[in-house]
């Protein structure tokens, strides 16, 4: 890993990462790429987010769905943990709450494979400073 020595370095790095992420996403298969984010803060883990994350990693692989599973922090929907956000290509991210293994399976089979929404979506009710611009 190279050191960042100036602001210009950092900007370059940022662009690299941005395009890098982009390339990584697009190179797999733009039509079928899926991003799965599992909320893994203390509240999520305590409600069983870990096995859910493992399930997604294992099952996306086993079911031949190209996708990236990452962990993230608390989304604020602590009442509905474990929460999982799914971003299908070209679509807005969708957050599912109260995800157990059965629900996770359903998410893969129905939403990820077919694009069909299933019960238990959590509507987004906030703006971030990015969306405000």
């Amino acid at each position: 890993m190279s050191q960042i020595k100036s602001l210009a370095d950092l900007k370059k790095k940022r662009e690299e990462i941005k395009t890098g992420l982009d390339v990584r996403i697009k190179s797999i298969d733009p039509e079928n790429h899926v991003q799965v984010k599992v909320a893994m803060a203390t509240c999520g883990i305590a409600s069983g987010a870990k096995p859910i994350m493992e399930f997604f990693v294992e099952q996306l692989d086993r079911r031949n769905i190209p996708g990236v599973v990452t962990q993230t922090g608390c989304m604020g929907y602590c009442f509905a943990e474990p929460t999982v956000e799914i971003k299908l290509p070209g679509k807005d991210p969708v957050v599912f709450g109260y995800v157990d293994l059965k629900k996770a399976d359903l998410i893969i089979e129905k939403y990820i494979k077919e694009g069909e929404l299933i019960d238990g979506i959590i509507p987004v009710n906030y703006e971030t400073i990015d969306s405000k611009e």
Partner: protein, 592 residues
């Protein structure tokens, strides 16, 4: 096309189940099943106007829908593409129908600045933080700004410390920068201890780099090269992620020597606390970091003059720091447009208690309690009645119905008899006994008092004993006066913030719920039915069928009665365990 139907508790109690099945039937009857899907969702948080039905992709937001409206929604909207005007959400001020939910004020009530990356990036990957403009603010201050400019920018932003007291951040930095010393320290106060508050933990777990970056910016501004994060050992995941974040930042050279090729060097270490509430007070925190007992000392000297190891030290809370990089990047003038006149920016609140959407929210200062509790928080659980909300944890007070429309900021909360504190909000409904609530918080402060000064050590203990007597039905009206007098004395004479604020729950409940205290003292009754000694179980003769179920389950044989005859409870023997009430199938046993 998707039709989303809210399946939260609030909407379900107003028949969203029937709406869902009617919509599904209607869609099937019209042969649209392959084109339109009807989905049950989680709570939209808009329970006041429930049940909610939302149509996507056009984001039409229907409120107060009735099961019989299913037909018109399908026929008009889905088939003919015409919105059903009478069901649309109306702007409360202009009464205009709002067709697209993106234009609804409600969805703009939450604005995420501190939580901007929480739940969005992978906290264990510095690259994701950098891709979201991470460390750009640090780069900007080091390459383009003088320390004075940085301090001025923070001062202009009007940001006030989020740890509780609301001291202006820029001013704090300025004082620390003016004190000359060979070494100075930047301390991040991550000793979050208020019952019901968890925003600092969530920020550290979800976006640790934002805090590291802010600490480095602060170090540059005040002339410090050492940062310390005081975090409680009870937060293992936050510690784990901080360690990873610090290592990654060091690898990139964003922490360490000669950051961005300048002569500014800054490094961060972790210090673990044992989870004592008083160590959130900055002098106690510093003593604890030095390996001494976590006890506060009198200010002055302030930490900015003589703090860690006797050197100038700047202590900021996690949430305060997490907003700093954005303030630098977007500018003070952007930040100080958000919020109220004297409280700028946003505040994160941790919603807990009897509320539907328990969780973390972030709203601009000046948002009202009603908006937070009923719109974002989704209202009171099980459709019960709102009674009070405790803000500021054990140091704050209880606010009631009449305060619901007060815009929340530092000063308004103090004026209403509570405080901002760290932002915990514990919501209470009609089943909560306010005397017990005051007792609960006092029990916490008695436990957490360090014992150094007499008012806090002895006074709080006596307050607790008085409250205990009252809940046991042994209180007198004189006790209520004594409670108030003692509270005022403790507030005036305690050494640190813990003692000075610990009687707040007592005072605010005395002010706002005097009738409940009087009921406990005079009538020996607990109106909420929570205080064991003040209630008794009673069998309603008309409802009792003499099934003997209650008598059989009673652990102390307090219930007498023959088969098929009315039973009776012997109140001298009853231990009020409630087993009989749970067992009774005929609702014959009540608490009175």
């Amino acid at each position: 096309m998707h039709i989303l139907v809210c399946g939260g508790t609030g909407c379900q109690s107003s028949q969203s189940d029937a709406i869902l099945s009617n919509l599904r039937d209607e869609i099937e009857a019209k042969g649209l099943s392959d084109k339109v899907q009807v989905i049950l969702t989680g709570c939209f948080g808009f329970c006041e106007k429930g049940p909610i039905v939302k149509i996507i992709p056009d984001n039409t937001f229907y409120t107060q829908v009735k099961p019989e409206d299913a037909q018109i929604i399908v026929e008009e909207h889905i088939i003919k593409g015409r919105k059903v005007d009478r069901l649309l959400y109306r702007n409360p001020e202009t009464k205009d129908a709002v067709g697209d939910s993106k234009h609804m004020g409600f969805f703009k009530k939450q604005l995420r600045i501190v939580l901007r990356n929480c739940g969005f990036i992978d906290p264990e990957n510095i690259d994701e933080y950098i891709a979201r403009d991470g460390y750009m603010a640090l780069g900007k201050v080091i390459s383009e700004m003088t320390p004075q400019q940085v301090i001025q920018e923070i001062k202009d932003s009007g940001q006030r410390g989020r740890g509780g007291a609301g001291f202006p951040t820029g001013l704090k930095w300025e004082i620390a920068s003016k004190n000359k010393s060979d070494e100075k320290y930047v301390v991040c106060n991550a000793d979050e201890g208020d019952p019901g508050a968890f925003m600092d933990r969530s920020v550290l777990e979800g976006d640790p780099h934002s805090v590291l970056e802010a600490m480095a910016i602060c170090g540059y501004a005040i002339g410090a090269s050492q940062g310390l994060i005081y975090i409680r050992a009870e937060y293992p995941l936050a510690i784990h992620r901080l360690k990873i974040a610090i290592d990654q930042a060091r690898e990139y050279g964003l922490l360490g020597n000669n950051i961005f090729g300048s002569d500014f060097s800054f490094d961060i270490k972790l210090r673990y606390g044992a989870g004592a509430f008083v160590c959130g007070e900055e002098t106690a925190l510093i003593h604890s970091m030095e390996g001494l007992r976590g006890e506060p000392t009198i200010k002055p000297p302030f930490p900015a003059e003589s703090g860690f190891k006797g050197k100038p030290t700047n202590v900021n809370n996690v949430e305060t720091l997490a907003a700093i990089p954005i303030i630098i990047l977007k500018g003070a003038n952007w930040y100080n447009k958000i919020g109220t006149e004297k409280s700028k920016g946003t505040k994160v609140f941790a919603l807990a208690g009897k509320i539907n959407n328990v969780g973390l929210i972030e709203v601009p200062m000046g948002t009202t309690l009603r908006e937070i509790i009923f719109e974002i928080g989704g209202g009171i659980r099980d459709g019960k009645k709102f009674k009070a909300v405790q803000t500021g944890g054990p140091s704050g007070g209880c606010l009631m119905e009449k305060h619901l429309d007060t815009p929340i900021d530092f000063d308004n909360l103090v004026a209403a008899g509570s405080m901002m504190g760290s932002g915990g909000m514990i919501v209470m409904d009609e089943d909560n006994c306010m005397v017990s609530v005051a007792k609960f918080f006092l029990e916490f402060t008695v436990e957490e008092s360090c014992g150094k000064c007499a008012p806090c050590r002895i006074g709080n203990k006596r307050l607790y004993e008085l409250l205990n007597q009252i809940t046991e039905g042994k209180g007198s009206m004189e006790d209520l006066d004594r409670l108030r007098n003692m509270s005022v004395v403790i507030k005036d004479s305690a050494l640190c913030g813990l003692g000075q604020t610990s009687p707040n729950p007592v005072l605010s409940t005395l002010d706002n719920f005097m009738d409940e205290y009087v009921a406990h003292v005079k009538d020996k009754k607990c109106p909420a039915g929570k205080c064991k000694n003040l209630m008794e179980y009673y069998i309603i003769p008309e409802n009792c069928v003499g099934c003997t179920a209650c008598a059989r389950v009673c652990p102390v044989n307090a219930i007498a009665g023959e088969r098929k005859e009315v039973h009776q409870i012997n109140h001298d023997v009853c231990i009020k365990c409630g087993a009989c009430k749970d067992k009774c199938k005929f609702d014959a046993i009540i608490i009175r």
